[in-house]
Symmetry: C2
Subunit: 326 residues, 2 copies
């Protein structure tokens, strides 16, 4: 171990190996020709000197970028304060580490998708992962980043996506409710601008219509607070409701809380279901659908890092988790 040596550069390695910088570069980057002898000597010198390529220099000359941007659409910067997003960012950072890439998060105002262009127009941005993706967002992905972008949610011809089968998941939930004898099934929906939310709603509607049951929708926003007020709204408008489908676990938990506070028994009087299977769900015995968030995020990140032609959409299954609330 040398002590206070300055950081070794490619030049140092080349000199130590008795070759030119170009040769050293070729060997170390595994591109272009080099004699076996040169190879060996360069490799040798490199790890003797503890050579670590300078990411900034590399990125500069290649125009490649040094970090991956996780862009999240939402109505307020508050979307960044969310445990789901935490998982996505953290997982992305773990996947990026071996590639020498860092991760950044940013909020893109829902009504100004163009902001994405500003953020992504930075040459330092090597790739893009879209979260809460909207069609408008997909449209403003800079051309430079085509092939280096993946979406968690909906995709487009230019942007491959990793998605959850929200429709299938919701269908499974509704079917379970039906099988359990529920016939007055209401739903607390999510923001209409979110495709994943729309798909859940559509699955719900489709199934109920097919079964000749009444559709009872109340607008929600994923939050527990809205779940509480929505519970009251539902029972006020349709007192005979016997099941409430929540668009998220938080919403469902809010619903249950309010219901019980109002003396309504869950699931005896009203069954309640959630969506996502957050840790809280198992403790509160919430019946819900489970989704592998970490694997999904890792898949998205890997897509942009490996950038091999990916299938337009990779669907991850939604699996029903039966517990006590329904």
């Amino acid at each position: 171990m040398t002590t206070a040596r300055r950081h070794a550069t490619l030049e140092d390695v080349a000199r130590a190996a008795g070759v030119s910088r170009s040769t050293a570069s070729r060997v170390l980057a595994e591109s272009g020709f080099a004699s076996p002898i040169a190879r060996e000597r360069v490799r040798d010198a490199a790890d003797r000197l503890g050579y670590v390529p300078n990411a900034a220099a590399r990125a500069l000359v290649r125009g490649a970028g040094v970090r991956l941007l996780v862009a999240v659409a939402g109505t307020s910067p508050g979307v960044l304060d969310d445990s789901y997003l935490d998982q996505v960012v953290s997982t992305t950072a773990q996947v990026c580490a071996p590639y020498g890439l860092g991760v950044t998060v940013a909020w893109v105002p829902l009504d100004q998708p163009g902001q994405l262009a500003r953020l992504a127009d930075d040459r330092a941005v090597a790739g893009l992962v879209l979260v809460n993706t909207t069609e408008a967002l997909l449209d403003v992905v800079p051309r430079r980043l085509h092939g280096r972008t993946a979406s968690i949610g909906i995709g487009s011809t230019a942007v491959p996506s990793v998605d959850i089968d929200n429709g299938g998941g919701t269908s499974a939930i509704v079917r379970h409710l039906y099988a359990a004898g529920r016939r007055r099934i209401a739903m607390v929906t999510g923001p209409a601008w979110l495709a994943c939310s729309r798909r859940s709603v559509e699955a719900y509607r489709g199934l109920l219509r097919e079964a000749g049951l009444p559709v009872r929708e109340v607008a929600g926003d994923f939050s527990a607070a809205r779940g509480r007020s929505a519970a009251r709204e539902v029972l006020h408008r349709w007192p005979d409701t016997d099941a409430i489908v929540g668009i998220s676990d938080a919403t469902a938990l809010g619903v249950i809380d309010q219901l019980r506070a109002d003396g309504v028994r869950v699931p005896a009087d009203v069954a309640v279901t959630g969506f996502d299977d957050i840790p809280l769900a198992s403790v509160t015995a919430l019946t819900t659908a489970s989704h592998p968030v970490r694997r999904i995020a890792a898949a998205a990140a890997t897509m942009v890092l490996e950038q091999r032609p990916a299938p337009p959409t990779t669907m991850f299954p939604s699996s029903l988790v039966l517990r006590e609330s329904a």
Copy 2:
């Protein structure tokens, strides 16, 4: 909106503003002199052209690095799969974004602190945030990164830290238990290598000894699983135990779960407390101590980004949250 324009460089801005590159640089970097007229023209040109500085180029010339490394000590890579860490990483990424820095996470094996040197010896690393910090880890922070490192947990003369008052938090909990009439208070501890865990244990011991009460410790590891087995162990060794202090909320939840399964009433027979106040805690009515994880992480990140002489240790308070479990 121009369409397929090439990305604007500093040169472009300078030309558009009718000044030299250096002047433009000075204005945009807010360093050095520039006439008001020049300032205005450069600023103008910059945002007319949508100029975004190239982080790689900047990092290269400054030798500054392009990402912040969050290094986590632990016995296995499993430490990376943790919601607390998720929050730290995500918050760090949010704080770093405006600085044009990305974030990376890495695991440092507890028994090979030297691994940190390998990771941090990369010039691309602009700063370091240590998590689950040990003394050994503090010792191997490369000199280059002194002044650019912050620790969440213990610190050293070279590394400022952001810490939680674990001792105070635990004391408050134990005092509450005592005030509530509990006299046979056991504790499920955490890994001894973690300073924060040791401090909690010491606070617990100190208070009990002072009060002339018996010390009853069982080794734990923060997990809920260990909480379960520990609950049995405690009641087996000391059947008259009337309170169990958990080193973490997960542990406490495990304890409660096992206790109830074994027909022990909580808190009637045995009071149980946690530590951290995770979202689950409020739902399960767990009495615990609350800590502002996001603010702590933000403080640590800000320290390395701003690198103004920070106080050696910034303590964040631990605040008692009384609920039903104790």
